[in-house]
């Protein structure tokens, strides 16, 4: 559906919602009815805010039918070509594209028309809409989207290291919590051995024309018992990855966690691929995306909480994943509203007088500053990459001109030397090409990843603030209920009094609950930030080492080229 400049989004989304009448949980398909904007790296959790806002402003009723369960794979005839026949892609650490068995797409063929948009820089609003959905459905209420209903993880941080129950200690005061937990979490961070390896390989175009998409092979190798087997693969498409992120972001149990954001949608890139996967810019785009998806999954599985999540397991294991249709989240919603809410949330933080405040406030500032610094670096790296590409082109052109010159020279030795020079220059072009790739894939993408991650970090701070707000609102509601009760006592209406007392009890429970939630989230955020910073230093260091190794290799090859050319030059008589 081409929307670009329409004021309302007509894509269909799958929504879990609680029916306002019956209090039952239902799923239905509906129109998302949001303005067609996109923020790629939306801080997780902000979705729920907006959707509630939208829901409350809408007054349509949900239709009775639900089509959420489209998970049965009977729809498409798939010969299973996915079991890896002896092909072990984990042999080498660099997951290169292997010639893979051609296999069919992930799920039923459908319209996957990406609309025109500009490549969105993270967190910049633009008029993008990407439609991963098909047919128009009837109008539906976009009601309150809710967090995951089936919570395996019962709110406590179920760590991967299951030997010690490292859930929340029962002590109630925040300061106590902080002390014991911080020590604990620093210990736990030290046990950093994750026994899961994932790789994303073999991008293959499925389908034709504008309905085409790229399917990737997701391979997992693990020794963890919670998985059904030790080595397995699945084919996934880009929207599946986005869908996973959506699910994780929405989960109450994961609030406060830094959920790694997936790579951005790119309509321009995908359109190129749909047209043909052969030209260099398509190849580069697909490779960039493949690598980004791989890093995305690697970050997810190296996060102890996320690894436990059933959705993650399902993503890795399940043969046919239900088509993720609410990936509109990443493109939808009045995010101007969202941004404002987010910043309002931040400003509300200054009202709090809690002593743990300064840590959060300081950290938030740091994160903000760091994001700006990384953006600056990213700009420089981008220009460096461009210059390297330019050097490739210029070197190739020069090589040709030298070859022509060599051909027209009379002196045979000179002619020969010039031809050799042309060959050397061609080899150098190759080197420059690799160097540009190195610069790009190592640095540019590293910086891009971390800029997105910092957005996610900011998001989890926001979640904490929202938890605080919920708590405060509950407190104020409780207060109102109490006042109402007092009034009723005065007015002497015993029947209503009973209800009032019940409501007070209900809200007292909520207040306690929300306070606990808030504390828990605070703890999680602190833990997550610590883990993030450690990971960041490690990540950067390992990438730099990779870069230097590649550089060194290039230099060695360059030395060989020059050494080979030297006798040719000397031979000119």
């Amino acid at each position: 559906m081409r929307l670009g400049f329409f004021t309302q989004c007509y894509c269909t989304v799958e929504i879990s919602h609680r029916c306002l009448r019956t209090q039952e949980w239902r799923t239905s398909r509906g129109r998302c009815s949001r303005p067609p904007f996109l923020i790629p790296s939306l801080p997780p959790g902000t979705l729920s805010l907006t959707t509630r806002a939208m829901a409350s402003s809408s007054d349509r009723n949900p239709p009775p039918f639900s089509v959420s369960e489209q998970s049965e794979p009977g729809l498409s005839d798939m010969a299973d070509g996915d079991s890896d026949d002896g092909e072990d892609i984990f042999v080498s650490n660099s997951f290169q594209n292997h010639p893979a068995s051609v296999s069919r797409g992930v799920s039923q063929p459908e319209v996957a028309a990406d609309l025109f948009s500009e490549e969105a820089a993270a967190a910049k609003p633009n008029g993008v809409h990407s439609d991963d959905d098909d047919d128009d459905d009837d109008d539906d209420l976009f009601a309150e989207a809710q967090a995951d209903l089936s919570s395996d993880t019962s709110g406590s941080s179920a760590r991967k290291d299951l030997s010690t129950s490292s859930g929340l200690p029962s002590a109630r005061s925040p300061a106590d919590l902080l002390h014991t937990s911080l020590e604990q979490l620093e210990e736990e961070e030290a046990k950093d051995s994750f026994d899961v390896d994932v790789a994303v390989t073999n991008p293959e175009k499925v389908g034709d024309g504008m309905n085409a998409y790229v399917a990737y092979k997701v391979s997992t190798r693990t020794s963890l018992p919670m998985f059904k087997s030790k080595v397995f693969t699945a084919r996934r498409r880009f929207s599946d990855f986005l869908g996973l992120y959506e699910k994780l972001s929405a989960k109450q149990s994961l609030h406060g966690c830094i959920i790694p954001p997936p790579p951005e949608k790119s309509v321009v890139g995908m359109t190129k691929v749909k047209v043909g996967m052969d030209d260099p810019s398509s190849v580069e785009f697909v490779e960039k995306r493949r690598a980004a998806l791989e890093r995305y999954l690697q970050r997810i599985v190296s996060h102890p909480l996320l690894l436990q999540d059933p959705d993650v397991r399902e993503f890795l294991e399940r043969e046919d994943l239900p088509r993720a249709v609410n990936t509109q989240a990443l493109s939808g919603a009045g995010f101007l509203k969202m941004i404002n809410r987010a910043s309002d949330a931040v400003s509300k933080m200054t009202i709090k007088m809690n002593e743990s405040d300064s840590w959060f406030e300081d950290k938030f500032q740091e994160v903000d500053m760091e994001e700006q610094q990384l953006r600056k670096l990213q700009a420089v790296v981008d220009s460096l990459v461009n210059h390297r590409k330019e050097l490739c082109v210029n070197t190739a052109v020069f090589a040709k001109s030298i070859a022509m010159l060599g051909n027209s020279e009379d002196n045979t030795a000179l002619s020969r030397a010039l031809s050799q020079l042309a060959e050397v220059e061609d080899k150098m072009e190759q080197l420059h090409q690799e160097q540009a790739g190195s610069d790009f894939f190592i640095f540019a993408e590293l910086l891009a990843d971390y800029i997105r991650l910092l957005g996610a970090v900011r998001g989890c701070f926001d979640q904490r603030v929202r938890a605080w707000q919920r708590w405060q609102e509950a407190q104020s509601t409780l207060q109102k209920k109490r006042e109402a009760e007092a009034k009723l006592l005065w007015a002497n209406k015993p029947d209503k009094l009973q209800q009032a007392k019940e409501e007070i009890t209900e809200w007292e429970t909520k207040v306690t609950q929300y306070e606990r939630d808030f504390d828990r989230i605070g703890m999680t955020v602190r833990k997550e930030v610590l883990r993030f910073e450690k990971q960041k230093a490690k990540d950067f260091k390992s990438q730099i080492i990779k870069y230097l190794e590649a550089m060194l290799q290039s230099q060695q090859r360059l030395i060989k080229f020059w050494e080979a050319f030297q006798p040719e030059a000397k031979a000119i008589a």
């Binding site: 330019e390 210029n394 022509m404 027209s408 030397a417 910073e533 230097l548 550089m551 020059w562 030297q566």
Partner: protein, 370 residues
């Protein structure tokens, strides 16, 4: 005979041609002054003179306008670089090519080469203006010579159709064709190489920016994780300083050896082209003179015959000189290119080895980092 010898004696250069150096360039507003040093033949020291571009042009004009030098038009004149411009416009920069890079260092080298070629040329060095130019402390006179057979404008206006004029001599016919092809290719190669060098410079600059930008990320603080990250940033900044240094070296090597060589080559081939053109013009003149002599009425016949004979004589002289010049040029070209290719290769090899060492050190430092 005696007079000839005497003339020769007084016209011989009093410096060693191969010691001529353009040691400095001074900038005063928009004017550039070049300091030229040469060793005296007598072994008693050096000449130091300062010259502007106008002085070089004066020298060149005088060389062009020499009289009573048989076959002068067959000489391949050492090419003078185009006029330099302080804060050059894009167009001038394009014209200058390699010579516009690097704070006039390549330009000085080109002027130096010009002077050395003049001083080494068997015919040209005899002209006393060369001596004056190299040794006189006062700036040589700057009057424009009126009669200038090499006035480019007139050549362009009158001559282009003559360029394709069929030749009578196999040698020259081949040489003209060959020169045409070579000139084009060499100029293209020089231009494309310049593009390469300019991009290398851009990369060096970008690396410098990255290194500087990394310092912004360094923070003071007690937090061990922050410290770790800051250390990474500082070390990475050092890496990119190394890369910048390496890239700059590569560009400088390119410029000083192959770049200058291609530039000189292409200008020399242009000079040869001009010489061949002059010869062709003379050929046309000769053929016209022959026609005139044939068709002349008896009254004018003798006069026309005289003109024809003179033209034949001149043409013969020109061809003789030209042949020598061509042979010499072809030989010198090859030598020059060889020398520069060898030097280029050696310098780049050296730079590559230094780069490898530096990167290896950085790599070890990173691996060793906690």
């Amino acid at each position: 005979m005696m007079q000839e010898e005497a003339n020769e004696a007084t016209s011989v250069l009093s410096v060693y041609g191969h010691t001529i150096k353009v040691t400095e360039v001074l900038q005063d507003g928009d004017t550039l002054t070049f300091i030229i040093v040469s060793q005296k033949l007598s072994g008693t020291g050096e000449y130091h003179v300062d010259r502007t571009y106008e002085d070089f042009e004066w020298l060149q004009q005088h060389l062009y306008a020499q009289e009573d030098v048989p076959g002068l038009q067959g000489v391949i004149f050492p090419p003078l670089p185009v006029r330099p411009q302080v804060n050059a416009s894009a167009k001038v920069m394009k014209q200058l090519g390699f010579l516009g890079l690097g704070e006039w260092q390549p330009y000085c080298k080109a002027l130096e080469t010009f002077l050395r070629q003049v001083a080494a040329h068997s015919i040209l060095r005899k002209n006393k203006t060369v001596e004056v130019f190299l040794t006189s402390t006062d700036p040589p006179g700057r009057q424009k010579l009126r009669r200038n057979i090499f006035n480019r404008l007139s050549q362009a206006v009158e001559g282009l159709w003559k360029e394709g004029h069929k030749d009578v001599d196999e040698f020259f016919h081949t040489e003209r064709d060959h020169n045409l092809v070579l000139t084009g290719h060499t100029r293209t190669a020089a231009e494309k190489f310049l593009d390469v060098v300019l991009t290398e410079q851009k990369i060096a600059v970008a690396c410098g920016h990255f290194a500087a930008a990394l310092h912004i990320c360094v923070e003071n603080g007690e937090d061990p994780e922050k410290k770790a990250f800051s250390r990474v940033c500082v070390k990475l900044s050092e890496v990119f300083d190394s890369i910048k240094k390496n890239m700059t070296s590569i560009a400088v090597n390119d410029m000083n050896t192959l770049g200058l060589a291609l530039d000189l080559d292409s200008r020399y081939l242009e000079a040869e082209k001009e010489m061949l053109f002059r010869r062709t013009c003379k050929l046309v003149e000769l053929e016209n003179a022959r026609k005139n002599a044939e068709r002349a009425k008896p009254v004018k016949k003798n006069a026309m015959e005289e003109v024809k004979k003179a033209a034949e004589g001149e043409f013969e002289q020109i061809c003789k000189v030209a042949k020598q010049e061509i042979v010499q040029l072809n030989q010198e070209r090859v030598e020059m290119l060889q020398k520069n290719l060898i030097q280029w290769c050696e310098q780049q090899l050296q730079t590559a080895k230094e780069g490898a060492d530096a990167y290896n050190q950085h790599l070890q430092a990173f691996i060793a980092m906690a």
